[in-house]
């Protein structure tokens, strides 16, 4: 069960349309290392997870990723809602516009639609937690790439927040992984 809270996790206030930036940032909505894949990965993995701390971590980070998905969608929406037809044509956003108008749809920047094959849910505690740690680093790299490409402070500010969350999540998955039963004090004492 989830409850919706009518606010963003971190404020987004973008005042100027920018179709180029929107086409890049939408990758964190539906791209290979985007927030939808992150949330689905963690929320799917938790049912077979055997480590109690990792189940909590997957549930709570998987939930936070939904809030990040909403932030990314808000950034894209605010960057595109006031575009003129001329700006849409000149920026190359016309290829998205023809199929989706100004709606939000999960795709990578290069046009590849979101696909569940972008994440894994393997049913092995160590395998899944290492996948999660790698996923956080891949998302962090993508945010770093966005920050290299986009300098407008109105856009960069919430992107920096999202980038910092990837670092914290990596840390928490690493801590959950240290709690794996094969590495616990109890298991070591039995050796």
């Amino acid at each position: 069960m989830w409850n919706y809270e009518r606010r963003l996790q971190y404020p987004v206030n973008i005042t100027k349309p920018n179709a180029k930036a929107a086409q890049i940032i939408i990758s964190q909505y539906g791209g290979p290392d985007g927030e939808i894949g992150a949330s689905m990965r963690y929320l799917s993995q938790r049912y077979s997870m055997e480590n109690r701390k990792a189940i909590g971590t997957l549930t709570d980070i998987g939930t936070e990723e939904l809030a990040h998905l909403e932030m990314v969608a808000t950034i894209v929406r605010q960057l595109t809602k006031d575009l003129t037809p001329e700006e849409i044509k000149a920026s190359g956003f016309d290829k998205y516009y023809v199929d989706h108008t100004l709606a939000i749809w999960p795709t990578a920047a290069a046009g590849i639609p979101f696909n569940a094959c972008e994440f894994q849910s393997k049913g092995d505690t160590i395998t899944d937690l290492y996948e999660d740690m790698a996923a956080e680093q891949k998302a962090r790299t993508t945010y770093d790439n966005i920050l290299r490409l986009i300098k407008d402070p109105e856009i960069a500010d919430p992107i920096r927040f999202l980038r910092a969350r990837e670092v914290v999540h990596f840390q928490r998955f690493g801590e959950a992984n240290r709690e794996d039963c094969s590495k616990s004090e109890h298991a070591q004492h039995n050796h």
């Binding site: 409850n3 919706y4 809270e5 009518r6 606010r7 963003l8 996790q9 971190y10 404020p11 987004v12 701390k53 909590g56 971590t57 709570d60 980070i61 936070e64 909403e70 969608a73 808000t74 929406r77 605010q78 914290v168 999540h169 928490r172 801590e175 959950a176 709690e179």
Partner: protein
């Protein structure tokens, strides 16, 4: 959006973010007494701020909608607007 409303919403976001961080920290450090105490402190601050916001400006949660002759939930702007 007026300034006081914005300020209160920002405060709610700040204390709520503190809770988000503590929840993740406590998931992997469930015995940390300082974090447990800080969680209780922020939980109280968040509840008070949410109650004040709901009373003055309208609901942030859909089980917090005040009695009235109109369903306020659909009236206020959404976070992306």
């Amino acid at each position: 959006m007026n300034q006081d409303k914005n300020k209160l919403l920002l405060y709610i976001s700040q204390v709520s973010f503190g809770i988000d961080e503590l929840v993740l920290f406590l998931d992997t450090h469930p015995c940390d007494q300082d974090a447990l105490a800080y969680y209780q402190e922020l939980k109280k601050a968040r509840k008070e701020a949410l109650d004040e916001y709901t009373h003055k400006y309208g609901p942030l949660l859909n089980d917090n909608v005040d009695n009235s002759c109109y369903w306020e939930w659909v009236k206020e702007p959404w976070p992306w607007e």
